[in-house]
């Protein structure tokens, strides 16, 4: 098992070099948000790779972006200004939060890449919204083709197949975790998901298939490892944070993270679209995917979170947010009150840098003391 996980870790730790080498053969396109239709980018002959912020000091980015936007976006800008992403052919971004939109445009002003493109994603699910979705997909395809891409519906069917398979395997791993049948630590499972953002999907699928095979051979029920919790929050790009939670005595049994469940669930689109029309399937998935607070109401998200709580046996919730994250902060009071009504303890932590601060550890210890040792 350790060996299989090592393969994922190699991607997380060494992706810049790997990307640089890959870009000599296949052009790479960056994106921030998982509402970006990576399937279209892939089907047009590019490798979609997610931009990670990682840790490190912020110096150059201060001259271009204010300090009151999320640390992830500032660190990503810092890396870009250092030349980290000069191997990218372009950037594609689905409009979800204001900061991601603004930062994409600031990148465009300062980081010279082949092209930039932002998709104005509809919020509704009616027939007009579906038609609009198809228009913006066409617009993106045209842009990709203008920059060397070649798109076909057959290629899209193929890409959908790969991504649906990848997402299906991740969903299976999560299902095993809900059932207490997964022997991976939260840090390891998170690292596995994270590697999928930076590895080409074909390579990633192979790694994932090998891992799942191993996992299937370990039909054991794991012993309880601590206070079972659901983590709900924004983007997290540092596996160490989860390790720290486990060290404190938490057992992460479910997540609603931008770099976790929300990025792959559900694996395929469910909706009124024609199942054999790849563009319909794609539209269905983006309209019916597990929602981000930047796209949905707190009251619509709450039942989904409660399903996760019940299904995973979580006894508490940690809201783990990037500092200044408006969509999550705006939903927090409503969710907080709703969890209170359910008698579910919860705590809010805001990430300012990588990992947890000492003060946050102390608060978590107190949280566990009160709620977790029963």
């Amino acid at each position: 098992m350790t060996e299989s996980i090592q393969a994922f870790m190699e991607w997380i730790e060494g992706y810049p070099e790997k990307h640089r080498a890959l870009s000599l053969q296949t052009p790479l396109v960056g994106y921030f948000c998982t509402y970006t239709p990576v399937e279209l980018i892939h089907a047009s002959g590019f490798i979609p790779v997610r931009i990670l912020g990682e840790s490190g000091p912020i110096q150059k980015a201060y001259t271009l972006a204010p300090s009151f936007i999320c640390p992830y976006m500032r660190r990503a800008l810092e890396k870009a200004l250092e030349g980290r992403y000069d191997y990218l052919s372009g950037m594609v971004q689905g409009y979800t939060c204001d900061v991601a939109c603004g930062l994409t445009n600031i990148w465009e002003e300062n980081i010279r890449l082949g092209f930039y493109h932002t998709l104005p994603l509809p919020y509704n699910r009616n027939p007009e919204a579906r038609a609009f979705f198809r228009s913006i997909f066409s617009e993106l395809i045209q842009k990709l083709e203008a920059h060397g891409g070649r798109f076909s519906l057959e290629a899209l069917s193929q890409s959908l197949k790969i991504y649906e398979r990848v997402r299906g395997l991740l969903a299976d791993l999560y299902e095993r975790r809900y059932q207490g049948r997964l022997m991976l630590s939260a840090k390891d499972l998170f690292s596995i998901v994270l590697a999928g953002f930076v590895a080409p999907p074909e390579t990633y699928l192979q790694l994932l298939e090998a891992l799942v095979k191993e996992v299937q051979g370990q039909e054991v029920i794991k012993a309880a490892r601590g206070f079972p919790i659901l983590i709900s929050g924004s983007l997290l790009d540092d596996p160490k944070t989860l390790e720290a939670l486990e060290d404190l005595g938490m057992d992460v049994v479910a997540d609603d993270l931008c770099t976790g469940l929300r990025s792959f669930y559900p694996p395929a689109g469910e909706g009124p679209g024609e199942k054999n029309d790849p563009l319909d399937r794609l539209t269905d998935r983006y309209l019916h995917r597990f929602p981000c607070p930047a796209r949905q109401r707190a009251r619509d998200r709450f039942p989904l979170l409660m399903d996760l709580v019940r299904h995973s046996g979580a006894g508490g919730v940690i809201f783990l947010l990037q500092k200044f994250c408006t969509p999550h902060l705006a939903d927090y009071p409503i969710l907080s009150e709703a969890f209170n009504k359910e008698g579910l303890p919860h705590i809010l932590l805001e990430i300012e840098d990588s990992g947890l601060t000492e003060a946050q550890r102390t608060r978590l210890e107190a949280f566990l003391e009160i709620h977790g040792r029963g």
């Binding site: 009151f68 409009y95 900061v99 919020y123 609009f132 228009s135 408006t326 705006a330």
Partner: protein, 413 residues
């Protein structure tokens, strides 16, 4: 002989009456059973409301009034006690605090009527959308229209964006007809859209007079924007703006300026600090006048063509993107053009903690001003609603040094 000066416009008094009348009308509408709909500003729903004889209410516009009346600190306290972080936009915290506090308590001279309808927007900025999601919980009786509007850069608007925005307009009209029983008279809509267009033309004319030296009025009169936010599509807005235009024209022609000796002309970027608009006038004691700002051109969007619905859709698509980070390129172009047109000496960038969408991109605009026009600028840290995020000492130190530098550059120091 120095030209005469006169700080305030006469129209400012008329504006006060107009503001009072609008909010009284909102309360009366509710009392008379006229359907009241709350909505975000800067979209074509306002014209449709006026054409259907419905009462629009703008929670976002209510916030500057709360700041001016001194309600904001109390509203913030209530919102923050409910769990709304201080890092959230001040408009959001203010309105949420208001609807859970003062609005329930009553007793304020002005107040908002409860909504019958909520136009809950996707599109625009995320806080504007989230405000309405939260309001939906506060007013469970209200009928909700989940509106959608593509967030697309002004320079990238294409037919499919317009088509979708148009289909949303028709969906809105259907919703309003079904929920209120009122029908849309197409001729009346044309009339309203015509009036709205006249307001935009007048707005541009008024702004153009600020190119005169000395400028006939300063950013301290930004309050006139009230009619563009709340009254577009009404005769009242056109009459008021005509009065402002005539007064401004007369002042410009007679070389009546804001101060006796206008030495430095400034541009203000981002929403002003509503709790202290006097700051915009603080440059005047150093012979500086703020003669243009971000909003100067944002309300000049024309409503042209034979189809009023399409005209409204196009306006809606441009309004938000032109003042936000959706169109950094276009915004930069607009600010640079304004700086040339208004003969600007220096730019004040308000780095506004309550508005990331307008703040993002400021540094790129700042650099372009220096590199392309040689225009210096200064950054002021602040917040358009929450005074706790503003330091008067920092403002004074930075603006005074900036003014000295600008005067030195012009050989006046």
């Amino acid at each position: 002989m120095r030209p005469p000066s006169q700080k305030r416009l006469q129209a400012a008094k008329a504006l006060n009456q107009l503001v009072l009348r609008f909010y009284q009308e909102c309360l009366e509408a509710r009392a008379k059973g006229k359907p009241v709909g709350w909505m975000p500003p800067m979209n074509g729903a306002i014209e449709i409301f006026y054409a259907m004889d419905l009462q629009p209410v703008f929670p976002e516009n209510w916030s500057p009034l709360c700041a001016a009346f001194g309600y904001a600190p109390q509203n913030f306290r209530i919102a923050e006690a409910l769990g709304y972080s201080r890092d959230l936009c001040g408009y959001l915290r203010n309105i949420i605090g208001y609807v859970h506090g003062l609005m329930k308590e009553g007793g304020t001279p002005l107040a908002l009527p409860e909504p019958d309808l909520l136009l809950s927007f996707g599109g625009g900025c995320v806080p504007a959308m989230k405000i309405f999601h939260i309001l939906e919980d506060r007013f469970p009786e209200a009928r909700i229209f989940s509106a959608d509007l593509p967030q697309v850069a002004a320079e990238q608007v294409q037919d499919h964006h317009v088509r979708y925005a148009v289909s949303e307009m028709y969906r809105l009209i259907d919703f309003l007809t079904k929920t209120t029983g009122k029908k849309l008279d197409y001729d009346r809509l044309k009339e309203v859209v015509g009036l709205s267009n006249q307001a935009s033309i007048l707005w541009e004319e008024i702004m153009a007079y600020r190119r005169y030296i000395p400028s006939p009025f300063s950013a301290a009169e930004i309050g006139i924007m009230f009619v563009m936010v709340t009254r577009q599509g009404t005769r009242e807005a056109v009459d008021f703006l005509t009065q402002v235009r005539d007064e401004v024209a007369a002042r410009a022609e007679n070389k009546i300026g804001v101060i006796e000796e206008e030495q430095v002309r400034l541009f203000w970027d981002n929403i002003p600090p509503w709790y202290n608009l006097g700051l915009l006038k603080s440059f005047e004691k150093m012979n500086g006048v703020v003669v243009a700002e971000t909003y100067s051109s944002a309300w000049s969007i024309r409503l042209e063509g034979d189809d009023p619905i399409e005209a409204l859709a196009r306006k809606s698509l441009l309004s938000y993107s032109l003042v936000s980070c959706v169109s950094i390129k276009k915004r930069k172009e607009m600010v640079l053009k304004a700086c040339r047109d208004y003969v600007i000496d220096g730019v004040v960038f308000h780095r506004n903690k309550s508005c990331a969408p307008i703040t993002l991109g400021q540094m790129d605009i700042k650099r372009a001003l220096e590199e392309e026009l040689g225009i210096p600028s200064v950054i002021i840290d602040g917040d358009h609603m929450d005074e706790r995020n503003f330091s008067l000492a920092q403002f004074q130190t930075r603006t005074e040094a900036f003014m000295e530098m600008l005067k030195h550059k012009k050989g006046l120091w």
